[in-house]
């Protein structure tokens, strides 16, 4: 008898679990970004969350676009 009750309870639970309905509404706040959060550029393996290192690397490449710096021997 106990087994029968347990089987019925288990069966009912499983059957009802299939009836669950999840809300498909996106949580929306008007005028604010509603998508997934993004990770900053310095968060990867390359810079290991060091924003200063990342900014230094970007600035170095930025200055390298100035060919006056590259050709005049002023550095860069």
């Amino acid at each position: 008898m106990k087994r029968l009750v347990a089987a019925v309870l288990l069966g009912t639970t499983l059957a009802l679990a299939g009836c669950g309905e999840r809300s498909q509404q996106v949580s929306y706040s008007k005028g604010r970004y509603a998508g997934k959060p993004d990770t900053p550029a310095w968060a990867g393996d390359e810079f290991k969350h060091s924003r200063a290192d990342w900014e230094r690397a970007i600035k170095a490449r930025n200055l390298r676009q100035n060919e006056y710096e590259r050709t005049s021997g002023r550095g860069g």
Partner: protein, 204 residues
Amino acid sequence: MARMKFICDAERCIECNACVTACKNEHEVPWGVNRRRVVTVNDGRPGEKSMSVACMHCSDAPCMAVCPVDCFYKTEDGVVLHDKDLCIGCGYCFYACPFGAPQFPQTGTFGMRGKMDKCTFCAGGPEENNSDAEFVRYGRNRLAEGKLPLCAEMCSTKALLGGDGDVLADILRERVVVRGKGAEVWGWGTAYGKPEKKTEEPKS
């Protein structure tokens, strides 16, 4: 803090379209979508000028203002990006953008529009940095590798510059002084006033 911008020096652009090709190749952009293109005015006449155009990552971006599902966001460095999972392909951003930057792949037999695609400043999108999911949807994330957009970095005449707006303004200013004309286009500081946030020098 950098404020990422592009500047195209029309005095130097030779309309080689290498920036367009590099962008398409780097991000494996699908057929029919051009994140960057070269516009020529007075084509074939004296005074012809060319300019490479893509998303300009506006300080006050109209695409962000008109998007009905708010799928746009701006990174701390001023790069305007969007979440393709949220985009409904309505095309409002295309009508709002003064540069024609938003592109829409044709996905169906009857010319149905897909999700919007645009220049990401080689900064990927809201997926894990340099993951397959990010590459498939948004292209390569060069900023996370400490590099600048490929279109600007490989420009042979250095007409197209990309990076921190203040640094670009300095480079352009030096050019203007050397060639002795064009003082009216002295960079972003003149055009847009002070930076949005206080610039912090990285500690050495």
